[in-house]
């Protein structure tokens, strides 16, 4: 057999499992979902068709686009707050901790919660924010409040708090990696050229670590966008997000075509965000080489 033929067969052999996997478990399901999104609802199921009614309903019916907006708003807030908490922490780890052991310990402390079930971590906030919860008990005990309040739980605030708590590690990891990659000599060079530490941070450290921030924020945003557990646990009636609507379309509401259209729209939004963030990260990575 010719060497080139053999090489070609070897390449196919290596490539085929992941290609098959992606085909069977990703592309075909997407295709089915895409097809369904043009179908017509017909009680009790649906019938094949090619029409844009489902998409039109999403745009015209307030209950759908409002949920989309709310989901986007909460996702952006979770992304922002996660960065505001996670980035300074990563910065502190990389630049201010002198001992390698302490740094490793603190890093682990942030990562360890990921080993605990996501469900459990979301549920924990119920016991913290609830009217019988730890926060209320403390406020009543310290005399700040006369009676427990229910303003902490079952609203968008509690959702943002819970999801931010969950996604902070996802910011810390990429931010840490990108901060660690910045050569110390760059920061020294900036100071050497007469630039004070704060300006050095704005002009050198922050721009060079932006790929890490973008990566972390994208993860937090996208995972929040598709989340349906936090809304169900701590969201209350006003905390419904797009994933909750989706599950109900495929469940109780029994409207698969509408659900399919909704998931295609969600997919497009998330893909747009990912590709934008990817472009940003690529341009940043090129620079540090």
């Amino acid at each position: 057999m010719k060497l080139q033929t053999r090489k070609r067969i070897a390449t196919l052999g290596v490539l085929s499992p992941p290609v098959l996997w992606a085909l069977i478990f990703l592309f075909i399901p997407y295709l089915i979902m895409f097809t369904y999104s043009f179908y017509l609802k017909k009680f009790p199921t649906f019938e094949p068709a090619f029409q844009f009614g489902n998409y039109a309903q999403l745009v015209t019916d307030a209950q759908y686009y409002q949920v989309l907006f709310r989901t986007a708003k909460i996702s952006i807030m979770v992304g922002l707050f996660s960065v505001l908490l996670g980035y300074p922490f990563a910065y502190f780890l990389v630049f201010k901790i002198k001992s390698d052991r302490v740094r490793a310990m603190l890093y682990m402390a942030v990562i360890v919660p990921l080993w605990v079930s996501y469900l459990l971590r979301a549920y924990t906030w119920k016991t913290i924010l609830g009217s019988e919860g730890i926060l209320n008990s403390f406020l009543v005990w310290s005399g700040i409040l006369d009676a427990p309040t229910d303003i902490f739980l079952y609203n968008q605030f509690s959702m943002v708090v819970t999801l931010t708590y969950i996604y902070v590690p996802f910011i810390v990891m990429p931010a840490y990696a990108s901060l660690e990659k910045i050569p110390r000599s760059l920061i020294e060079a900036s100071k050497d050229l007469g630039v004070r530490p704060l300006r050095t941070f704005w002009s050198i450290t922050l721009p060079l670590s932006s790929p890490g921030i973008a990566a972390g924020m994208t993860i937090a945003f996208c995972l929040t966008f598709g989340d349906f557990i936090a809304p169900a646990l701590v969201g209350g009636p006003n905390g419904f997000m797009i994933a909750n609507v989706l599950t109900s379309q495929f469940g109780a509401a029994l409207n698969w075509p509408l659900g399919a259209a909704l998931s295609i729209v969600t997919l497009l939004i998330v893909l747009t965000i990912i590709s934008l963030s990817d472009t940003l990260q690529r341009s940043g990575k090129l620079e540090l080489e």
Partner: protein, 369 residues
């Protein structure tokens, strides 16, 4: 010209207990090109980083143009550094890199553009002003780093192994370039290197460091011709090191007992008493091989030996001679014409090594050995 840098008994111990710099005092004159030379870990880079302000000494003081800057942060010191890895900002173009300090300092845009152009002109990189650092070659990056460091006319330019990341050819060119730049700018240059040739070629004065301390300070030819210790003698160039005892001092000359022979050396400022153990260093090119001992100069020291091997090195041939004393002595034989090669001594032949007294450098033997 006054002194621009005064280091007074600097000491730096890192957490963990390593003393990188131990009691270093040094004065550098304005406009001088001074090189800190030593192997890695000798503390030379730490000295440079203390002058820049990146490390603060545990002890001692640093004065810059008369002002005590020991406690000043790096951004308040009028020194600039060329980093070993150049430390160019990857997210800025060449001209943005060079103008960075001025831009943050709030200098008007037109003036920045003007100064950046001048600084880039100086290193002949005007045509690459809009490139990013990752689009430049190693040599070009180095020149950007240089022009960025000199744009504000610092009192002192610090260079941390500036040529180590360049390939051999480029490095040789840049040695000369840096030397010319130094002459053109009239700034004080302080360079750190582990490369002795670099130190000899480029500097006015060389500070040889050993384990955090200054081993010797002198002009390149001082250090080469009159090393003050075996450490310096072996770090700079190749030396034959012979040990003996002083037998007699008479005026400028001393007589040294070496093995079964007597050798004459020039005192060169050293004071010896009779019986002192003494080290002699002799450069291989300052000795010669004689077929006929009678042809030597009147005063030459003559050492008998046999040829062990002769290695051809192009412009010279390096002969290893086994001396009667048991030491090995290296002699460089010049090959001024092609026929000289056939006259080279053969393995095993008996020869006499001749060294003029003024080519025998001496210093007190260390540790009484």
């Amino acid at each position: 010209m006054g002194s621009i840098i005064q280091l007074d008994r600097l000491r730096k111990t890192f957490p963990g207990g390593v003393t990188a710099v131990d009691d270093v005092s040094l004065e550098i004159e304005e406009g001088e090109y001074v090189t800190l030379l030593g192997p890695s870990g000798c503390g030379k880079t730490t000295v440079l980083r203390m002058v820049a302000g990146f490390e603060s000494p545990n002890n001692g003081s640093i004065r810059l143009a008369g002002e005590d800057v020991t406690e000043l942060p790096p951004y308040r010191r009028q020194v600039n550094m060329v980093f070993q890895d150049y430390a160019l900002f990857p997210h800025m173009s060449v001209s943005q890199n060079v103008g960075y300090g001025l831009r943050i300092a709030g200098v008007p845009k037109s003036e920045i553009a003007d100064q950046v152009r001048k600084a880039l002109d100086l290193v002949e990189l005007t045509s690459k002003a809009d490139r990013r650092p990752n689009e430049l070659s190693g040599g070009e990056r180095q020149r950007v780093a240089l022009s960025r460091a000199i744009i504000r006319q610092p009192k002192v330019l610090l260079l941390d192994e500036p040529l180590s990341a360049l390939d051999a050819n480029l490095r040789e060119n840049m040695r000369v370039e840096l030397r010319h730049l130094h002459q053109r700018l009239g700034l004080t240059f302080v360079m750190v290197t582990h490369d002795q040739t670099e130190a000899l070629v480029m500097s006015d004065r060389v500070v040889v460091m050993e384990q955090g301390r200054v081993a010797q300070i002198g002009t390149p030819s001082d250090l080469y011709d009159h090393p003050a210790s075996t450490y310096v003698a072996s770090f700079i160039g190749v030396s034959n090191v012979l040990t003996g005892h002083v037998v007699k001092s008479h005026g400028e000359e001393i007589t040294i007992n070496y093995g079964a022979e007597h050798m004459t050396a020039v005192r060169n400022g050293h004071a010896y008493s009779d019986g002192d153990p003494v080290c002699m260093t002799i450069r291989p090119e300052k000795a010669s091989l004689l077929a006929n001992p009678k042809s030597a100069g009147k005063k030459a020291n003559l050492l008998k030996g046999t040829v062990r091997e002769v290695l051809f090195q192009g412009s010279i041939a390096r002969a290893s001679i086994d001396l009667a004393s048991g030491d090995t002595f290296i002699v460089d034989l010049f090959l001024p014409n092609t026929s000289a090669q056939s006259d080279l001594p053969q393995h095993g032949s008996a020869v006499t090594v001749a060294v003029e007294p003024h080519n025998v450098n001496t210093f007190a033997a260390e540790g009484g050995s």
